[in-house]
């Protein structure tokens, strides 16, 4: 199924929410720690009384979803589908801590209620009174991808639908400290512009909330479509990845020669970036290649940032980073192939193109 992108909205560590300055004004991460989202004035989207009870990730998710609805001029979608790797962490931590500090007595239920992963999708539905299909996926590096897969399936079932699909993840001080102990992040100072040059263990953590309105047919003025989505869990080394990418492209009748830009999920982690380097000097050897995690950091649903960024490039014809592979860009960038993997285990391949 081909899905047409009718609208987008994204909160990220960059100035991406509306006309805030991306891509001319890039926020460069430097130092220790993680990349945090630039947050908008939530009162423009959420009633302040309701916002007071919401955690940061719920506000981030709901406001980007509502902005996406507004900008795509679809007030009532037929389905709301979200993906999140870790859900509403802050409220989970809060409730867990209160169990121990209050010795299980007189606990405030609000953080418990808002700790489940479907809080955001439920709150969006509640805000617009949408009784349609509603689902939330959570599978590490397939969290956003599963939501998108479901959205494409919805369009296969009924082409006339409008599907709101989004991915979000937050990072908190606690989750950062725990995932640091698990060895996921770089333990040295990081200059974001050099993220891909360190050749050290670990990546740069990030977060974000991105929503897309997808429809089954093209409408004038909104001319970017998702031509392909392929997921594979576990791969048997670089040869297998190579073979699969070739096979998937062939299966969908896509000539690799016709792709204008390759976007790879380099995270700066030397334990898993070699997959990308192999592709860059292998099947994509003659292609211009760019990355995206220096802009948004690494997180379970980071491919939602990539999808948005590819859409943005096709619409605005601006690649605002140094190319990782300096093959010349064509006159027009009409198609972008994204390949991303999470820690070498969850692999996803997307093709976006102007139509």
């Amino acid at each position: 199924m081909t899905a047409y992108i009718r609208g987008v909205a994204i909160l990220s560590p960059q100035k991406t929410f509306g006309d805030q300055g991306f891509p001319d004004d890039i926020v460069v991460h430097s130092g220790h720690g993680f990349m945090k989202c630039i947050e908008p004035a939530y009162r423009d989207f959420i009633d302040p009384m309701a916002a007071r009870r919401m955690s940061r990730i719920v506000k981030m998710g709901v406001s980007s979803a509502l902005k996406c609805l507004r900008d795509s001029d679809v007030p009532m979608p037929d389905a709301i589908i979200t993906g999140t790797g870790l859900g509403c962490l802050d409220d989970t931590e809060k409730f867990l801590a209160s169990i121990f500090s209050n010795k299980e007595k007189l606990l405030n239920p609000t953080p418990f209620i808002q700790s489940t992963h479907n809080t955001v999708a439920g709150a969006i539905a509640l805000a617009i009174k949408c009784h349609g299909y509603n689902a939330t996926y959570t599978q590490r590096g397939f969290s956003f991808e599963s939501a998108l897969e479901d959205a494409l399936l919805q369009l296969d079932e009924n082409q006339s639908k409008n599907i709101l699909v989004g991915g979000f993840d937050e990072i908190t001080e606690t989750s950062y400290s725990l995932t640091s102990r698990l060895g996921l992040w770089k333990n040295h100072m990081v200059d974001g512009t050099k993220l891909y040059e360190y050749n050290t263990r670990g990546s740069l953590p990030g977060e974000g909330a991105a929503f897309f309105m997808l429809g089954g047919s093209a409408i004038p003025g909104n001319s970017v479509r998702i031509r392909m989505l392929k997921l594979f869990y576990e791969a048997d080394g670089i040869d297998d990845i190579n073979e699969r990418i070739n096979r998937y492209l062939t299966e969908d009748g896509i000539d690799p020669g016709s792709i204008d830009l390759i976007m790879l999920g380099f995270s700066g982690d030397n334990r898993t970036d070699h997959y990308y380097y192999h592709l860059m000097s292998g099947i994509f050897n003659d292609k211009p290649v760019t990355g995206f995690k220096h802009l948004c950091g690494e997180y379970d649903t980071s491919a939602s940032f990539a999808l948005w960024y590819a859409w943005h490039i096709i619409r605005n014809q601006k690649v605002m980073v140094q190319l990782l592979k300096e093959n010349p860009l064509g006159e027009k960038i009409n198609s972008v192939l994204i390949y991303n993997h999470l820690r070498g285990k969850y692999h996803s391949l997307y093709l976006l193109e102007r139509c």
């Binding site: 790797g85 859900g87 439920g122 509640l126 509603n134 969290s143 399936l153 698990l182 869990y233």
Partner: protein, 398 residues
Amino acid sequence: MPKVFVTGIGIISAIGSDAESVRNSLRNKHSGIGKISLIDTIYKDEIPAGEIKATNDQLYELAGINRKSFLTRTALLAIIAAKQAVVHAGLSGKSLADAAVISGTTVGGMDRTEVFFKEYLKNRSKGKIREVAGHDCGDSTERIADYLGISGFISTINTACSSSANAIMLAARLIKQGKIKRALAGGADSLTKFTLNGFNSLMILDRQQCRPFDENRNGLNLGEGSAFLLLESEEITGNKKILAEVRGYGNTCDAYHQTASSPEGHGAYLAMQQALEVARLNPSEIDYINTHGTGTKNNDLSEGIAIQRLFDSGIPRCSSTKSFTGHTLGAAGAIEAVISILALQDQCIYPNLNFTERMHELNFSPSSEYIPDASLQHIMSNSFGFGGNNSSLIISIN
């Protein structure tokens, strides 16, 4: 579009660690709800729950897995049920490799996280970090896939208490559209201090055995468990024994309140109606409803009104088997789908325990006795969750 057939089932819950023992408990009215013995909580003697009376060490043994694998209780339960479903369907090795695994869970590996947090909160550098590595909901699904050697599409749904009903629904939709041929679909959740205290803080845990659809009901009992269905496209089942067909499904959002259901059960009504549409059945063709029936004031009223509105003149027999298993949260939809399949096989209706007085607002009562000679072809199974996530499945035999 191809039909979606069930060729294997697996289940572990407070009333048994396989389909046969669950069936016997249901027939003999043996509830699994009782005193909590495995969780470290001040409510041990006060709040009953449907706990599986096996330590994690015993579950490792039951699953045939080395303890060094370091699994959460949720993952252990999930692997035990998933393996049963696969064996039941007579599948192994290569025939499984490209299957999908789609699971539902609400708190994933919280059972280990809360053990970790106790130490961690005292000192931020303490606690065994391995304990939280399986915290996320995707962990148990990944563990099933890795254990069974599956490398097809894997995913997890968390729509609170309707999670595994939605997992079954997604698998069925993927099979119908020809995207996949075979899937393990179900869910798992273990009992945790987190959920026990969460539902307790909402003041919806009954201090006695829960009484679904009773005028004097006073809340739910939590439970734990896992169930999986092996679903196959009719294109590949050949002469294999078909246990049932996933014939209909509906997913809607109540969009009324973060936790409470609308008084008229709008979302529930729409989900059941959609499931009937997909199944191409009239309400009168449903022979039995395995209700969500948690035993809370709010759910049973809202669900009851929705059933009354949709089924109008002829309300099918119905019961809540949560009075046996407790509310197993993310696993509930799959556990109740398996129970529905057992009911279809045995042509019987399992009772709704602890029922004495009809709710004043309703004109029907649940079946409170085991009915061995029911004639059943189509069963509806409801699962409703926080966030307004309502789902309904229709499971049939020919």
